[in-house]
C-alpha cells in the first residue's frame, strides 16, 4: 500500500476500475470517450474546459492528464493559464455571489 493518498502512477491504472464492475466501468469509459470527441465544440476546446474543471475539482490525476493532453494538441501555456483563471473566477464568484444571501438575511433580521 502506498503511504500517500495520491500516486501519479495510479492514473495509468484508471482503466482497471472495470475489473470490479465491468458493465458500469465500460459504460462510463464509452460515455467518457464520446464526450471528448470532436462535436459542436472542438476536441481542443473540450480539453481546455476539462483542464479548468480539473483545477476546480482539484483532481491531481485530471490536472496531469489534461495538461499533457493540451500540450499534445498544441495548446500554449498562456491558453492553459487563462482557462484555469476562468475556473478560478467561477469558484470565487460562486463564493461571493452567496454574499447576496448574507445581505438578504442581515436585511431581514436587522434591517
Amino acid at each position: 500500500m502506498s503511504k500517500t493518498y495520491y500516486d501519479p502512477a495510479d492514473l495509468r491504472k484508471f482503466g482497471k476500475i472495470t475489473e470490479w464492475s465491468e458493465e458500469l466501468g465500460n459504460k462510463f469509459f464509452e460515455y467518457y470517450g464520446k464526450v471528448f470527441e470532436e462535436g459542436a465544440l472542438s476536441a481542443r476546446e473540450k480539453s481546455l474546459i476539462a483542464l479548468a474543471v480539473a483545477h476546480t475539482e482539484q483532481c491531481p490525476y485530471c490536472i496531469d492528464a489534461y495538461t499533457k493532453d493540451g500540450l499534445q494538441r498544441g495548446v500554449t501555456k498562456e491558453e492553459m493559464m487563462e482557462a484555469i483563471h476562468v475556473g478560478a473566477a467561477i469558484k470565487s464568484g460562486a463564493t461571493l455571489v452567496h454574499g447576496v444571501q448574507m445581505m438578504n438575511k442581515v436585511n431581514k433580521l436587522d434591517g
Binding site: 495509468r12 472542438s42 476536441a43 481542443r44 500540450l71 499534445q72 500554449t76
Partner: protein, 351 residues
C-alpha cells in the same frame, strides 16, 4: 547557454550501445512493459519484413547550423561527418537502377555538405518522382551563400520539408534555439515568394511538427488546421501539409527524457498508444537509410543507434535488391515511437 552535441560533451549517451542498453533494461527487462518484439508478436507481425524499396533516404552529413534540444542525430556545428562525392555517386548509381520513386535528403543540414548542390543537380537528371530535401529553414538565412536556396530548390523542383515545432516563438525557440523562430518565418516567406507552398502550386512545401517535450503529437489534421490558421493570420505564410512526427527515445531526446525524469512515463505513453495498424505501414518496410559513409540501415534512427541492416549487402556500393528485399527489420524498444497512435514516419502519420 547554447547546448552542445552529446559527442562534444563526451556524454555517456553519445555511445549507441549505452542507449540500446537503457532501452532494453529497467521496465522492459523486469517485464513491467512488453518489449517491442513481444508486442508485435501478439499480432503475428514479428519479424517485420522489408517490402519493395520505395524511398531512399540519404543522410549527407551530421553537420548542422543548429543544435536542437531533441535532435535524434546529435547534429551540430561540431559534427564533421560528411558524405563524399564518391559515396554520392554510388547512391546515384543505385537510384538509376531501382524502382525507388522518392529520394529523401537529410542531415544535419544537408545544404551544408559542400557537394550538396552537385548531388541535387545530378539526382534531378535521373528523374525521381518525389525529391525531398529536409531543410531546417534557418540555413537559408544563415549565410549569404545560402540566400539563393529557394531559387535553387525551385529550379530542380525539390520538395521542401521543413521542421517547425510550433506557430509561436516561445515554443519554437525553446526547442530549436534562440532566434530560430524569426529566421524560420523569414525563410518560409522567401519560399512562398518563389511559389513554394502556395495553394495549387507544384512546388511542394510541407512542415514537420514534433512535440517540444515529453508528450506525443496530437492529431495531424487538427494540428495542420491550427498551424495553417496561425501562420497565415500572423505572418501571411502558406504551406501544403503538416507531418506530425513522434520523438523517438534515442540520442538527445533520450538524454532529455532521463534528465527530466520523464523516461518511464514516456515509454508507458508509447506502449499504451501502440497501434498494430501503424505497424503495417512503418517506414522501415519501404525505406532504406544511407549514412554519410555509405552504410545501409532500416531507418535514420537505426543509423544513429548503429544497428546495420540484417543483410549481406551492408554498404550502398554492395546494394542488391534481391538481398535487401524481404530482410528482417532490426528492432528495439525505440520502435514504439513509430507505432504509437496514428503512427509516425518521415512522411507523418501512417494509420
Amino acid at each position: 547557454m547554447a547546448i552542445k552535441s552529446l559527442h562534444k560533451r563526451e556524454s555517456d549517451l553519445a555511445n549507441s550501445n549505452r542507449q540500446l542498453e537503457i532501452l532494453s533494461n529497467g521496465i522492459f527487462k523486469n517485464g513491467e512493459l512488453p518489449t517491442f518484439k513481444d508486442k508485435i508478436s501478439e499480432t503475428d507481425q514479428f519479424p517485420l519484413k522489408a517490402k519493395k524499396l520505395e524511398i531512399l533516404q540519404i543522410n549527407v552529413g551530421y553537420m548542422c547550423n543548429q543544435v536542437c534540444e531533441h535532435c535524434h542525430v546529435d547534429a551540430g556545428p561540431d559534427r564533421k561527418e560528411i558524405m563524399t562525392r564518391e559515396t554520392m555517386q554510388q547512391c546515384l548509381d543505385v537510384i538509376k537502377n531501382t524502382g525507388a520513386h522518392t529520394l529523401d535528403l537529410t542531415g544535419g543540414a544537408p545544404e551544408m555538405n559542400p557537394d550538396f548542390r552537385w548531388f541535387v543537380e545530378e539526382a534531378a537528371k535521373v528523374g525521381i518522382k518525389d525529391f525531398i530535401v529536409r531543410s531546417n529553414l534557418t540555413i537559408i538565412r544563415a549565410n549569404k551563400k545560402y540566400y539563393d536556396l529557394p531559387e535553387f530548390f525551385k529550379k530542380h523542383n525539390v520538395h521542401v520539408v521543413s521542421s517547425m515545432p510550433h506557430w509561436t516563438r516561445g515554443k519554437t525557440d525553446k526547442q530549436r534555439g534562440d532566434g530560430v523562430f524569426d529566421k524560420s518565418i523569414k525563410a518560409l516567406q522567401e519560399l512562398n515568394a518563389v511559389g513554394y507552398g502556395m495553394p495549387g502550386s507544384s512546388l511542394k512545401l510541407d512542415l514537420v511538427y514534433n512535440p517540444s517535450g515529453a508528450f506525443l503529437p496530437g492529431d495531424q489534421m487538427a494540428m495542420e488546421k491550427d498551424f495553417k490558421k496561425a501562420l497565415l493570420e500572423d505572418f501571411g505564410i502558406q504551406f501544403h501539409n503538416l507531418f506530425a512526427i513522434t520523438n523517438l527515445p534515442i540520442s538527445r531526446f533520450l538524454d532529455y527524457l532521463i534528465a527530466s525524469e520523464n523516461y518511464e512515463d514516456y515509454m508507458y505513453s508509447l506502449v499504451e498508444a501502440y497501434n498494430p495498424a501503424a505497424v503495417e505501414n512503418v517506414m522501415c518496410t519501404n525505406t532504406l537509410s544511407v549514412s554519410w559513409d555509405g552504410y545501409l540501415f532500416d531507418c535514420d534512427f537505426n543509423q544513429m543507434l548503429e544497428l546495420p541492416v540484417n543483410s549481406k549487402a551492408k554498404h550502398i556500393s554492395e546494394y542488391n535488391q534481391d538481398l535487401l528485399e524481404g530482410r528482417n527489420i532490426v528492432i528495439s524498444q525505440h520502435c514504439y515511437g513509430c507505432t504509437a497512435g496514428a503512427g509516425s514516419s518521415c512522411q507523418g502519420s501512417v494509420a
